[in-house]
Symmetry: C4
Subunit: 223 residues, 4 copies
Amino acid sequence: MDRAVPASDEGLAKGRIEALCDGVFAIAMTLMIFNVKVPQIPTELAPAKLANEVYDLWPQFLVYAISFVMLGIYWVGHHNQYHYIRCTDRWLLWINVAFLFFVTLIPFSTALLGRYPAQQIAVVVYASNLIIVGILLLIHWRYATSQPGLVDSDLNPVLVRQASRRILLAPILLTFAVVFSFVSTIISLVLCAVIPVLYVLPRRIDRHWRLTHSMNRQKGEAS
Amino acid sequence: MDRAVPASDEGLAKGRIEALCDGVFAIAMTLMIFNVKVPQIPTELAPAKLANEVYDLWPQFLVYAISFVMLGIYWVGHHNQYHYIRCTDRWLLWINVAFLFFVTLIPFSTALLGRYPAQQIAVVVYASNLIIVGILLLIHWRYATSQPGLVDSDLNPVLVRQASRRILLAPILLTFAVVFSFVSTIISLVLCAVIPVLYVLPRRIDRHWRLTHSMNRQKGEAS
Amino acid sequence: MDRAVPASDEGLAKGRIEALCDGVFAIAMTLMIFNVKVPQIPTELAPAKLANEVYDLWPQFLVYAISFVMLGIYWVGHHNQYHYIRCTDRWLLWINVAFLFFVTLIPFSTALLGRYPAQQIAVVVYASNLIIVGILLLIHWRYATSQPGLVDSDLNPVLVRQASRRILLAPILLTFAVVFSFVSTIISLVLCAVIPVLYVLPRRIDRHWRLTHSMNRQKGEAS
Amino acid sequence: MDRAVPASDEGLAKGRIEALCDGVFAIAMTLMIFNVKVPQIPTELAPAKLANEVYDLWPQFLVYAISFVMLGIYWVGHHNQYHYIRCTDRWLLWINVAFLFFVTLIPFSTALLGRYPAQQIAVVVYASNLIIVGILLLIHWRYATSQPGLVDSDLNPVLVRQASRRILLAPILLTFAVVFSFVSTIISLVLCAVIPVLYVLPRRIDRHWRLTHSMNRQKGEAS
């Protein structure tokens, strides 16, 4: 396969960026839950109080679940980009480092919001963190597709634009969450909880990608 | 090898799902033990009391060992499925995310049960968590094998059914553990400890898989 | 390469066992240090006391360094075995799970010994943990080399025995450490600190392995 | 590809060293942030005080950001070396283990400096840790390029020297940070913050590497 040759030869092989990225996401996704602490009650009071204490952890689990799915979405988005990226350069590498940096902050923001779900500052920090990650993912995509040689030269421009729009969805809705937090943090939290659902549902771009994939495959078979 | 081509071309390459999955399992399995805390005793009292304090941690180590093996079982099960899965689609991806989400909750459930082994609520939370993971693994298998194109078209239906039954074993026994916890948490804990043993022993399906493997290999050599 | 075919076809592909193993070792090695806590002193007292408090952490760092190198040794040993193992079966898989289980306990033993370096119980727990890991590594090697089909059929029996003896070195010395702990924990700790040094130095087996490697390579080039 | 054959045949395959290394870096980079704790305030006081408490965490986030980028730099440096390294031997392996050991200490040093940014001892520990990691990276490079057979025999000596100089940049500047900490910790911290910026900017060596890459590629295509 001729296509694999430049990837391993120019700049940092994309395989190791993906490996570091997979590692950071796996750790961030798994470790967040360690911020949810097991209630500490004297054993003699446990029969009476433990069930309630566990039940009271539900806002933390909810925020954790939202963060987990958002990380999943960003991970899938990052991966999909690397489906088209052939090789990397120094700038793309550092965009990745910045992206991963803000990814690693998500466990902190999640713990803050889980502990203080009714405080505006917690909502703002949490939503801002997710916004920055989303925007860095967009910068990553725009940069990679604007540089000659980093992606396949025959990448469909419609796909590039649709992917950009899809990435932008979360930062835009999260900006609304920040704005509404000045009115009511409940509205903001509902918005945050709705975003994952929007992404999980299949959308127009999938049809497009599948089409491009089949075309690529046919091309590959033909050559 | 013709078989590898679609895997890297359609939807999310299965290699990266496996990488994320391996990462999450490795972290969850390694980190659980960090919930077992070293006893903190003033140094002058340590000679008299440390041995007892360490000894008293045994229920936590036992629960940890059960969870570790259960995670090992689910990891092997997930891996075995990907032996037959050729490529993934959006739904399979999100089933994976849900599966991994509940896998990351296991360290919390384990810490809860290790801290309160005699409390019914802890047993119920722990067993329910393992049940959900098992059922999501079953949904993963049923979905993948029911979609045309995600698995080899000549996958033996007997194997599909046997694997399903094998996956179901843990959720069914764990449901009994939940039911019996209303009578006695001891019975529930014994049931939880027995499940890993059942899975570790070789069973009929292994013979079947080995057979299929040999057949596949012969086919591969012939083609 | 004909040799790679059975590995991916029979039982659990060795690649994913190695991936899980690498993950568990990387996490255990990196996380141990999180048990060494930054001293918490009021800011106004920090100029006078912080340097001493940091200095007083040295036993913890020393124990951590020993554990880190021991984990490195066991990781290299495990890897070297997989250089010769062609494929896995159910029993080898579960030996691996048991091996990894006791590997994940090392951070706990390390924290215990770092906190109570003068207590016999801490020395015994620590050394026993390392002994069990070493013995499981030996069982792993003996099982793999005794089963037909798991390793290359022309594997030199001298190599098998030499590798076994090399693996046994640590458990034997650690058994002495356990025995001497009844006399003096200082002797035990010195013994523990010496073991890594013995392994780091090159030894006879390296010459043997290098020879086998060259022979294998020549064979590969010839075929 | 003839070049890949010795890598998997002699000593420890470089692929698994890279995997362990990627794992350790991913974990260290992601886990550091877990040392920044969510402020614990009674819920009724949160509206008045939480924003300030979160704001007061900024030195910790700043130190964390510096460490994250420094780890990124060292990770890239390590990776770039493995672009040229064909295979490993026992000494290179143990240089790697020492390198990774001091990498795993960075989260501790970071937490220490984040907690006591004005204390000289914290600055000295932090800078020394980064210096040792940098020097081990240099030793790694010098050793690998001085041994026959570990790197390509036609590796450009100019590239070897330029890479060495580039690696030395951080340890030299960090030594200044240690020296200046006797005068003012502010100067030291500014120096630490400047280093990542110097590395992120493209430099002469990049042009050189790109040239070598193209030449290698042409050579590869020609052969």
